[in-house]
Symmetry: C2
Subunit: 315 residues, 2 copies
């Protein structure tokens, strides 16, 4: 059931001992939203714990080093930034059918929770969390402000992507006015800092670029054999999808990573107006209009053929 | 003489036939400011012309294709985003000593004009132009809004850099509310789109990274011999300076380009808190705290030595 801010407020004010679920392959938005909500619940005198199927990456230490929360038997299950229980990883089995409140901004949200506060025009789940805190009149802390800024910045590509709205900028302005959040350093860590290995890997991956459909589709495909040769794991290729839409004529970019033998995790990006979420849905996946994903099976050439055909139908 | 908005308004309302100077190696901010000011003067019924020592790069066609203005004998000389007459290129001799109004945001502005409207806390000259239009109550057009957005976005690194203020975000929000400025496409062209040659060149240049002073200084040096070998011109290396501050420990990054035999154009970037404008001033250059430049002479090793010593003194 979809709910509004008022009902979400009632829920939060009445809940107890909440576990806050974030999605697997955690990014700035789900980590930001999870820890911001934890701060808000703390301000309300509630105990909560942020959980994730994967470890939080080191570059988010400045948000997560307050601690994810001590262990307790949860009485409340809240999900943030999770469109589908599939994205809960190992927590799906435990909590997938027990989510009481979901706070999200994905239009593709599967409405799996008892109550869902969905704002699909928000650039980030953190934007929804901010509006909720404002609505509730909760005094946020500097840490909470940094969580929210980080989520908004990462999910909007630092205000670059079309999901950015005037409100996104206004929230950034309000956070910056009220708190010294060192946004330049945050953005440096989110968008600029790379290890020397990562820099070399980026160059190697870039060299794999292939163009199809009159250059309107760019694919970068990395097989397990290539990963073995380069000495990298699949997770290390996280964040490379935007490399696929650097060329001027490209409308759709796909990063294919072979997860296991003949199973490719495909991350789609749209350069302009093509809705890649719709394309991914035809392949059993989903996501945002500009950034979506799916899994395809087969040998590398078969897998590419499926993707090329799906994109061709959409163009 | 430094002036305020009121005196700048009086000047613009009373001027006639203005030539608007932009700096050499034009970027989004000087082009945006030049063409935005031209729009504003047009709204006031004034004739103006935007001039630049170099051609406007093709990616700014969406701003410049309205035309830079017909030829006329100027009665007024205005400079935008130009901190020093040295940056006027071939127009320095003609107009360098005749600038009546300079509108700028560089703290290093040399105060060379008769009247200077300087707002050193503005993220971009375009931010100053926006505030001036607001102050004057001039109705801006969609084209003018796109010019201003582009300038603000490019100079703030899309709201990433520390020069960004709450006001920078507020102006972006106001422009987006009032006009359909297609900011996602603008940002794509400003920050993402590259030619395939550029992509390969970026990888090649990245491989030249050298680290000094316990990794706190990174230098990428490109000699004329290297450019010949790679088949590129000095101008094609424009925009690569940020590559020098990608590594976590780097505080100062320098891109050195050999302009002519033994003369190196050096572009400095600061990753965090080091003021590179101050370092460049010790070497006869200048700029912003986070992005500055200078020229050093000598063979490549001598030139590097000068830079390393200057940075070491500052760290």
């Amino acid at each position: 059931m979809y709910i509004g801010f008022s009902e979400a407020e009632t829920f939060l004010r009445n809940c107890e001992d909440a576990v806050i679920l974030t999605h697997q392959n955690p990014d700035g938005d789900c980590i930001g939203a999870g820890f911001a909500l934890k701060d808000i619940l703390e301000a309300l005198g509630k105990r909560s714990r942020v959980v994730c199927s994967d470890e939080f990456p080191k570059r988010f230490d400045f948000l997560t080093d307050v601690g994810a929360g001590e262990y307790f038997e949860p009485k409340t299950v809240i999900a943030v930034d999770i469109a589908d229980t599939k994205l809960m990883g190992k927590y799906r089995e435990i909590y997938g059918s027990k989510v009481q409140l979901c706070i999200d901004h994905h239009i593709s949200n599967k409405n799996y929770a008892e109550k869902t506060l969905l704002r699909s025009n928000a650039a980030a789940a953190c934007e929804v969390i901010y509006e909720l805190a404002e609505f509730m009149g909760v005094e946020i802390t500097r840490h909470c402000a940094m969580c929210i800024y980080t989520g908004i910045s990462t999910d909007s590509g630092c205000f670059r992507y079309s999901c950015t709205t005037p409100r996104t900028h206004e929230i950034a302005a309000e956070l910056m006015k009220r708190f010294d959040i060192n946004f330049a350093r945050i953005n440096r860590y989110m968008f600029e800092v790379k290890s020397i290995n990562r820099i070399h890997l980026e160059c190697a991956v870039t060299e794999l670029m292939e163009n199809y459909l009159g250059n309107r589709l760019t694919i970068i495909a990395v097989t397990q054999a290539m990963m073995n040769e380069m000495g990298v794991k699949q997770e290390e290729l996280e964040g490379f999808a935007p490399l696929t839409i650097q060329l001027e004529d490209t409308e759709v970019g796909i990063l294919m990573r072979e997860r296991e033998d003949g199973v490719f995790k495909c991350s789609f990006r749209s350069a302009n107006d093509v809705n890649v979420s719709a394309i991914c849905q035809t392949l059993g996946g989903g996501g945002h209009e500009k950034a979506a994903g799916c899994t395809v099976c087969g040998d590398i050439e078969e897998a590419k053929k499926q993707l090329i055909e799906a994109v061709e139908r959409a163009l």
